[in-house]
Amino acid sequence: MSGPILQVENLRTYFHTADGLVRAVDGVSFNLGRGETLGIVGESGCGKSITCLSILRLVDPPGRIEPDSTIRLGDRELTRLSEAAMREVRGNAISMIFQEPMTSLNPVWTIGGQIAEAVRLHRGVGRAEGRERAAEMLGLVGLANPQRRLDDYPHELSGGMRQRAMIAMALACDPDVLLADEPTTALDVTIQAEILDLLCELQERLGMAMIFVSHDLGVVAQIADRVIVMYAGQVLEEGATEGIFSRPRHPYTEGLLRSTPKLTAKLPRLATIAGSVPSPKRWPAGCRFHPRCPHAWDRCREDVPPLLAVDQPSRCWLEEEPQRRTRRGEAGG
């Protein structure tokens, strides 16, 4: 009840490729409280998905979690567990749902078989019991007629139903933590709304903690209690959802919010962030956002800002020198 269920500290996941070092995740720290939903937002290549995979230690070589990174689940240090012990964690204490439900379900197995397998593996129950649990889970995620659905193959389900089946599989072993990596990105808007509702409802009912990764600010705003904004492998800003979206501190968060098209207001032009996301092979020196930042000055080009301020930490020198904020930033490019 007290204390976070998952603590990630100074997580660094580097890819040692032939073309050089790729610092995909570079010193990410956060806590996840029990029953909390933490949203991770960021654009492509910012390291949000690799962060998730690192927590499950599913990063393939040449990717590696660097020493000194800590990932604590309860009182267990995941980075030091053996591979066998880690297998016990995956799908059991922590499970994950992916973006593309078609490719993350095995097409040659029935839905029921796949869910039952996970249950039997982690719970050591028999065939019939596994099947029963699978049917229960399919009912829980809102599939009509779950007993019949058990024997369906993934291709017989529609996209939304497949994502529900994925969720059923992930939740079958009552995980403490659910990692959801862009779970609604491949879905239509109306289906996305259903899945988001489902996730919220299930979380309330089952009391698990959830990390919800998305590039879509609107989705995160809807589902998360707390949000971290990632850019270039680092956390740029962290805070309660309400604060992040109504009072963003970091210029990047601000820019993202302003460049997101809105349904309500008809604007002649959208605000933009100049330039494009840098390549993970060559992060800019100093503050990694400085080449695109409207406020950047010398200090930003040279010194790496830490996460400053307490209640809504922001990795920006403006926290120390707020008078440097320029008009250009206000105008939004």
């Binding site: 289906i191 609107g218 809807q222 993202l256 098209p261 809105k262």
Partner: protein, 324 residues
Amino acid sequence: MSVPPLVEVSDLVKHFPIRKGVLGRTQGHVRAVDGVSLDIRRGETVALVGESGCGKSTTARLILRLLEPTAGRVIFDGQDTLALDRTGLMRFRRRAQIIFQDPFGSLNPRMTVGAVLREALHVHGIARGEAAARCVAELLDAVGLHADDAGRYPHEFSGGQRQRVGIARALAVEPEFIVADEPVSALDVSVQAQVLNLLADLQQRFRLTYLFITHDLSVVRHLADRVAVMYLGRLVELGDSDSVFGDPLHPYTRALLSAVPVLESEGRGQRIVLSGDVGHAASAPPGCPFHPRCPHPEKDETCRAVVPVLEERGGGAQAACHRI
């Protein structure tokens, strides 16, 4: 109002046969587009909105005659595009262009950006040699790239830059009409805004007419003059942007609007959650295509049996629904 529209689409139909077995016998039809009528006026932006599989991309390809329709007509500037001969079709291709969704798939990886653009210029005899090089530089400049980029290959660009190259290719033949098929769906949010602004700028500069295809309603809010909403091969609502966004008529449009995740907690109404999945065009239900998911409290036998037609509902809005 006496000016005729640039594009007149009437009763456009496209059925794809479903073939099965060794002999490839036709087992039925996917009614991808099932009677779409739409006028696009000069200089305006019409957004064609719908979820996956609703037939919006097929409609776009039919209008550009990249696919042959099963029935219906497309009149472009007074000419029936289906009646065009070879030279007529080439002239049409110069006036109507397309921008694609996937910035990775829409450029030939073996050709430099310059070669891609020169090819477009060459095929239509617009410019050769020195003049072509100058044109390429101008085009790259127009879409916010550098003239030196002509020598680079697509894989050396970021997604947003590639999308700019795709736009430059469409602009190369100096078209009047551009179909933009989900041009920003594959891009990062911060880059999305750049490309949307670029499209708006180019429209002003070259007096372009856009058909903007998207599944994301928020993207077209500030861009579209009119919005057409599609569901399972049919238009269910068509109207001015303000009326569609401000006062949506069709239950589907309402559900779609309410499902868009928004940043502001205020200003959003009750979310209408639809039950069931988007139907498939191969097994579209009889009657109103939307009736199995329709949350309207008064839906009845008529909805299940009779296909509603797109009718004028006042205020420049049209909707296809029995219950309005």
